[in-house]
Subunit: 373 residues, 4 copies
Amino acid sequence: MAGSSFGTIFKITTWGESHGKGIGVIIDGCPAGIPLNAEWVQAYLNRRKPGQTRYATPRKENDTVAIESGLFEGQTTGTPISMAVYNETQRSADYSEIAGYYRPGHADFTFDAKYGFRDYRGGGRSSGRETIGRVAAGAVACALLKELGISVTAYTKSIGTISAAPSSFAPDILSSERDASPLFMPGREASDAAEEYLKDTMKQFDSAGGIIECIISGMPAGVGDPVFEKLDANLAKAVVSIGAVKGFEIGSGFSCAQANGSSNNDAFLGIRNGRAKKATNHAGGTLGGISDGSDIVLRAAVKPTPSIFREQQTILRDASPVRVQVKGRHDPVIVPRAVVVVEAMAALTVTDALLVNMSARMDRIREFYRPQA
Amino acid sequence: MAGSSFGTIFKITTWGESHGKGIGVIIDGCPAGIPLNAEWVQAYLNRRKPGQTRYATPRKENDTVAIESGLFEGQTTGTPISMAVYNETQRSADYSEIAGYYRPGHADFTFDAKYGFRDYRGGGRSSGRETIGRVAAGAVACALLKELGISVTAYTKSIGTISAAPSSFAPDILSSERDASPLFMPGREASDAAEEYLKDTMKQFDSAGGIIECIISGMPAGVGDPVFEKLDANLAKAVVSIGAVKGFEIGSGFSCAQANGSSNNDAFLGIRNGRAKKATNHAGGTLGGISDGSDIVLRAAVKPTPSIFREQQTILRDASPVRVQVKGRHDPVIVPRAVVVVEAMAALTVTDALLVNMSARMDRIREFYRPQA
Amino acid sequence: MAGSSFGTIFKITTWGESHGKGIGVIIDGCPAGIPLNAEWVQAYLNRRKPGQTRYATPRKENDTVAIESGLFEGQTTGTPISMAVYNETQRSADYSEIAGYYRPGHADFTFDAKYGFRDYRGGGRSSGRETIGRVAAGAVACALLKELGISVTAYTKSIGTISAAPSSFAPDILSSERDASPLFMPGREASDAAEEYLKDTMKQFDSAGGIIECIISGMPAGVGDPVFEKLDANLAKAVVSIGAVKGFEIGSGFSCAQANGSSNNDAFLGIRNGRAKKATNHAGGTLGGISDGSDIVLRAAVKPTPSIFREQQTILRDASPVRVQVKGRHDPVIVPRAVVVVEAMAALTVTDALLVNMSARMDRIREFYRPQA
Amino acid sequence: MAGSSFGTIFKITTWGESHGKGIGVIIDGCPAGIPLNAEWVQAYLNRRKPGQTRYATPRKENDTVAIESGLFEGQTTGTPISMAVYNETQRSADYSEIAGYYRPGHADFTFDAKYGFRDYRGGGRSSGRETIGRVAAGAVACALLKELGISVTAYTKSIGTISAAPSSFAPDILSSERDASPLFMPGREASDAAEEYLKDTMKQFDSAGGIIECIISGMPAGVGDPVFEKLDANLAKAVVSIGAVKGFEIGSGFSCAQANGSSNNDAFLGIRNGRAKKATNHAGGTLGGISDGSDIVLRAAVKPTPSIFREQQTILRDASPVRVQVKGRHDPVIVPRAVVVVEAMAALTVTDALLVNMSARMDRIREFYRPQA
C-alpha cells in the first residue's frame, strides 16, 4: 500500500532508508511562484541533524540537501520538487547483529510480520532518518505559509518531569528562546534543569520522553473540512505518524475531560480581519474542525528512546528468547530533534488545508475565474 | 473539498444535517459475501439514539436505518451499501433564534467563515447527528471484523473526575458491564458515582467531559502502512474527527512523556499465531505504526457539551456583542453516546488497514492469483 | 475497492442497482452558494429517462429525483448533496432466468468472477440505470459551470452509418437542434435517416452502435494538471467509464495518426481574455493536458446494445454451453440516452479540474487570503 | 494540484524536467519480495532512449538508471522504490530562444496560462523526457506481472498510412518481430515501407503520426472495479495521459459504432482456469470494466511530432504575431519511442488493479487472514 504520501493538493511522498543511498521527498502540487532555495531548506534540516549535542546520536551526517527539480530562476515552477539527502556514513556493520533479533520498542518484529523480511540496517525505513523527507518538505510549506503571514513554531515543552518556561508565546520570542537551548527548550533555568535530568538518565543507561508543543499563528478562519478532513483530525494524523509519538492533543486537550462547559467554552468577543476574537482559547484554534483564526495550539507526547544501553529481554526471529544489549548510536531523548519534525508536519497539514479551502465558495470561485479585462 | 469520505479501500461517505431530511452513509469497497441485515446495524445505532436516559437530549428520534443498496439475499454484494436514517422531528422553530449569533464552543462562526452562510437548524452538518452515518458504517465494519475474529470494544472510561472500574478487559465481560450502565461505564459503583457527578453538574446548569477507551482484540500482526498510513496515525485521525474530541492517545500515551525507556519498552516473550507475546503493552498494540498482534488500546478526550443552560458572552453575525442562553435539547455529557462512535471509527480504520494490507507481499499475491485446478 | 467515486475536490459517489430500492449519488465538495433545485436536476434526468420513444426500453420509470441534503434556502451549503431516485418497477420476475447463464456482451460473467455471485436482477449494478447518479451529479456540475459561463453540450454524432448534420456548433443552436430529434441527433434529415436505419436494425432483431460528440465551450485556459491528471486523460477515464463506451478521442483523435505535423499543428493567432486564439483546433482544446481556452471537443464510441432479441451462444454458470434468447426490455441503440451521460461525465471532469486549479499559483493564493479591510 | 501521481495501491510519482538535473520516479506500495535489479529496469529505458536511429532525436543521453531505495539483497522490500536518471546534456542555450514565443502544438502557452511562467528549457516538465519515470516504474510493474504469468506487449501498429503485419500476436513472437524493426513495427516489409514513408516526410521537413497497439496476456478474470475504476477506464486515462496521445480504444473500439449487436457480441464457449473462453474478442478483454480473462487489446492514436523544421505562424508572450522555425533536436515521429511508454502505462494500470482486487471477496479475505498453524 502506498503509505508514504501525505496531503491532497500539496502532497509529499518520501523515500529512503537509514543505511541506503539516501533519503528524499517529492512535493507534488506546490504552487508556482514561491521564492525558494536550498539554504532555506537546509536551515530546517540542520535543526534535526545528528551530532550537534551530547543529547543526540554522534552519527556523523551533514544532511546536505539537493533540490533536483521544480525550481527555475529561484522560484517554484508548480511542477514536482524533488529533494534528496545522501547518506554519508552507512556503517552497516554496526547493525548486522540486530538482523537476528527483535529490538523491544522498535518496529523490527512488525516489519517482518508485514513484509516477510526487512532491511535491518539501522532500522531501515523505520529509522528516525525517515523524517528528513518530512522536514525538507515542511520547510517548503513554511516558505509558502510565510507568504501568507502564517508562522509555525514548535518547541520542547517538557522532558521527563521538567517543563519549559517561555517568557512569551509570540513566535519570534518563542523561537529565539528555543534556539538558545541545546534541548530546544525555552527558558534558561528550565533548559538547564532538563540537561541535569538527562545526565542522570544517561548515567542509568536509560532514556527519557517528553512533550512537544506547536503553535500556528496567523491562520485565517474557515480552513479545514468537515467531517473527516477536519483540521484538527489531520493534525492528529500528521503528528501521530511521527515515530515515537504516542499522544496528540489540541487546545485544552485531555484536561477538558475534567472541565465543565461553562469554563471550557471560549466566549466570542468580536471579529477582526475575519478572525474570531475570543476571551480564551481552550479550543486551540478550531471549532468543528475549522480554524477560527486564533492560534492553533497542539501537543505531541513522545516516548523515551527505545534503544537503551541496558540488557533487555527479547526474542530471536525464530521466537526463542534471548537477552540483548542494543549497540549503535542513540539519542537519550528523541524530543529535541523531533521539534522541527512536528513543526514540519503541522506546516504541511495547514498548507494543504489552505489550498483545499480555496474552492469552498462559489462567490470566490466566480471572482477567481472572472475574465481579466 | 470532499471532506465527508473516510478510508482508502473500505471507504465511507456520509451526508445529512441535523434538521434536513435525514442522515446517511455510503460504504464503497465493502467486500462481497458478508452476512448482513438491518437489525445488525440498528443495534449499533440504538446505542447512540437520543432520549434513552436523563443524561441525553430528549429529542425523540427512532433512528431507524434503511439499507438501500448493496445487499442481495442477506449478503453484501461488493457494490456500494447505502444506508439512511430519516429525521422524524425537525423542529426548526427551536433553532431560528441561533441563526443570528455564534454559540460559544460550536462551529457556527467557523461554518460562516468558511462557506459564507450556514444551515443553522440544529447545527446543520456540525450536529452530533452527523455521527449516525459513522455508526451505521462502523456496524458493517464490525460485521466484517467478526468474520476475522476481531472485536472492537469501547466504553466510558471517565466522566469528570469519576473513573470506570471494569472487572476485566476481556471483550465480552467489558461490553456486558458497559451495557449494564446508563452511562456505558463499567462497574456499578463507578457508574453510580458518575451519575451523582452529572446530577450535580446539571444542577449548576453546566456540562461535563470525559474519556472514552477503546480496545481492539484479535488483530493479526503486520497491519498498518509506514510512514504516513500508520495504524495509530489513522486511528488518531479517525477519533479526533469526531466532534468534541480534543485528544488522542495510544498505549501509555501522554504518560510516556515522563517514563524511561527501560520501563516503557515491552519485552518480547514469544510469537503465537504470528502475533507477538509481550510482557507488557505500553505500546498499545502497534510498533512503527504496524500492529504487533497485541490488543490495540486507545483513548479519546471528550470536551464538555458546549450547549449549557447558562447565559454566555458571544457576538452576533455582525460582530456586535450579546449575551445569550442557548435553548434547545442538549446532553449534559457527550461521552456515553459517543462511545459507539469511537468504536465505529476504530472499526472503520482497522478494517480499511486490513484490506489494504493484503497486497504487501509478493508471495501472498502469487498464492492469491494462482490458477485454481 | 472503492470504485464508485469520481473526482478529487468535486467528488461524487454513486450507489444502487437496477432492481434494488433505487439509485443515488452523493456530491461531496460542491462549493457553497450555487443556486439549485430539484427541477434543474430533473431536466437532465428526463433526457435519459426510459420509455420516451420507440428506440428506448419501455420500462416505466418516472425517475423523479429527491434532493436529501446539502441545500438550504435554494442554495448549496458546501456540505454533501445527496440525491436519490427510487425505482418504481422492479419486475424481478423478468430476470430470474438470467441468474443461471451469462449474457454475451454483459458483465454477468465478470461480476461472478470478481465477487463470487451477483445481484442478477436487471444487471444489478452493471445496469444502465447506474448512470442516473452520474446524470444527477452532472446536472449540479453544470449549474456550477453556468456560473462561470461554461457550457457542455453533447449530441448523437452518428448511429450506425448515419451521421448528424448540425447547422452550427454554437451551444444554443446545437442543443436546440439536438432536442428536436427523438434520437438527439441534430439535423432533421439525418435524424430521419437514423430512424430508418434503426427500424431496419430492429426488424432484424438486432441493435446498433454510434458516436457521441461533446463540446465544452467557455473554458478558461490553464485548467488540467500535468502529468497524470491531464484534462484530456481525465476526460478519457470519465467517458470510457460509461458502460458500452469502447473508444475515446479528443480533437482530431484517431485521424491524427495519418496526419502530418504541418497540418495538425494549430497556429496561434493571439490571446483574448487569457484564451488562445488559434487558426484551427485539431488539438481539441488542450495542449499538454491543460486547457488552452478553445472549445474542448471529444467523442465517445458506443457499442451496439448487447441485449438482442436473437438466439445466442453462451454458457451456464457451470460453464456448460447453452443457446439463449435474452428477454426483458432493451433499447435497440444506447446512444441517444447516453448523450446526457457523456455530458454529465464531461461536466464533472472539468468542474473538478477548475476547482483543483485554483491553487496553482502563489500570486493568486496570496490574493485569495489577503485580509479584507 | 498533485498531478504527478498515478495509481491507488501501486502508486508512482514522477519528477523532473527535460533540462533540469534529471528525471525520476518513486514507486510507493510495491509489494515486498519481487526480484529486481537495475539491469531489468535499464532494458526498458533503453527502448525509449534517444539517438538510436535516424528517426529519433540525436540528443545524446545514456539514460542510466540508479535505484536509490526500496531494494535489499536483490528484492523489493515493500518500502518506496526511488529511481533516477540524471541528465547528461542540458544544452539550455538551444532553447533560450523559445522562451519568448509559443510553439504550435506544444504546451508552452498552457503552462504560462496555468503557472504564470515556465521552465522553457526543452519543454521543461512537458517534454517527452518526462516519460522516463513512467517507463522505469512500468518496468517494475512488469517484474511483478511476470511473477503472475502476465505479459504486456506493445508495438507500432501504424505510422502514417503504413500498417504493421505481425505474423502472430503471441507475446514472444510479437515482441521479437517488433524488436527486429528500428521502428518497433513487426513485419519486415511493413517496417521498410514505414521507413520510406518517414524519409519522405522528413524530406518535406514534416512529421508523422501513428497508432500503437498493446496486448495484455494472461490476465485473470475479475480485475477492475465498477463503476468509475473500471479497468478500461483506467487504461484510457493511463494512455491518454501520455503526451501526444489523442485517442484510445479497446477491443473493436471506434469500429463498433457501425457494428450490430449480433456481430459485436462475443459468444461464451466455456471457462478455463477461471477465465472466459469466447468465440471472438470484440470486447477487448473487459466486460463491465472487469477483465474476463481474454487478452486485453487497446490502441493509442499518436499525433505527429509538433516540432517540425518548417516556418510556422505563432505569437510572442505578449500575443503579437511572429513566424518561427523551431530549432533543436526532434523525432520525426513519436510512435516508436512511445511504444514502451504505452506498455509501461498499461502495466502500471493492471498491476494496480490486480492489487486492489484482492479485497473484493470475504471468503478470500478470511483465507488470507486465517491463522497459520
